[in-house]
């Protein structure tokens, strides 16, 4: 007998159905307070989303911010970081780089899903 709860398309659960995806490539400047990227989705609710960003160089994507030293010897120790949020119409990403000497080409990628609107 088949256990229906283990079927991948079991109809009693919801799934991460992708609505939109995209990426932005940009040049991360040194000592930048906040560069804002806005992506429109116009779904009418706050959808689930995932986001990754090449924080410290352009080779490794991080789905969250890199671990930062708790005790910093200088402000230059701070890594580039990002915050993000969704509204009923937009995904907004704010990238900051407070005095970190790291700069150059960066990429952020996102996916927005139909599900889990809040």
């Amino acid at each position: 007998m088949i256990d229906l709860t283990k079927i991948s398309l079991y109809s009693d659960t919801n799934y991460m159905k992708q609505a939109f995806s995209g990426e932005a490539t940009f040049n991360l400047p040194n000592n930048n307070i906040g560069t804002v990227f806005t992506f429109n989705h116009n779904l009418g609710y706050r959808p689930a989303y995932s986001l990754s960003f090449t924080v410290n160089d352009n080779t490794v994507e991080w789905s969250g911010n890199m671990v930062e030293q708790n005790v910093m010897s200088a402000s230059d120790d701070r890594l580039p970081r990002f915050v993000s949020w969704v509204t009923n119409t937009q995904l907004v990403v704010r990238v900051s780089n407070y005095g970190n000497p790291s700069s150059g080409a960066r990429r952020l990628s996102y996916k927005i899903y139909y599900d889990y609107g809040a």
């Binding site: 283990k6 991948s8 398309l9 906040g34 689930a48 915050v83 969704v86 889990y116």
Partner: protein
């Protein structure tokens, strides 16, 4: 030609990641925050031990985020206004709480004894994606 049913994605012998459960609710930050690391924690009961869980929050804005926007765990903070101090700096300084599995905040390096927070509500939405 025979079909290898074990390679069909709907084959039921293999657990799959899916949205098994959603937990929502609201929490409140209040009380005095002293200089240094301050932690607020809450217990949220889940029906089974998750091996993959996603967390979203909605709360007072910080970093330019409007208060009605939703953000992922680790990608935003909640603004927690403070008051009750004796100096203008203590009264006007707004602490922020970073949100992860635990909600935590910090008061940076300024001197002072304790800061009374304005009670701050925020909402959470946890999704259990565990393979089952």
């Amino acid at each position: 030609m025979s079909v290898d049913l074990t390679k069909v994605s709907q084959h039921s012998d293999y657990p799959a990641f899916k949205n098994n459960a959603v937990y929502t609710g609201s929490l409140n930050i209040s009380g005095a925050w002293e200089r240094g690391l301050n932690t607020r924690s809450w217990n949220i009961t889940v029906s089974s031990r998750p091996d993959l869980m996603d967390m979203f929050f909605i709360g007072p804005g910080a970093d330019g985020r409007p208060s009605d926007a939703m953000f992922r765990s680790g990608q935003g903070r909640i603004s927690v206004p403070t008051g009750g101090g004796t100096s203008l700096w203590e009264i006007s300084y707004r602490m922020t709480s970073a949100t992860n599995l635990l909600i935590y905040g910090y008061s940076t390096n300024q001197s002072g004894s304790a800061y009374s927070t304005t009670p701050t509500n925020f909402s959470y939405r946890f999704v259990d994606y565990s393979a089952q």
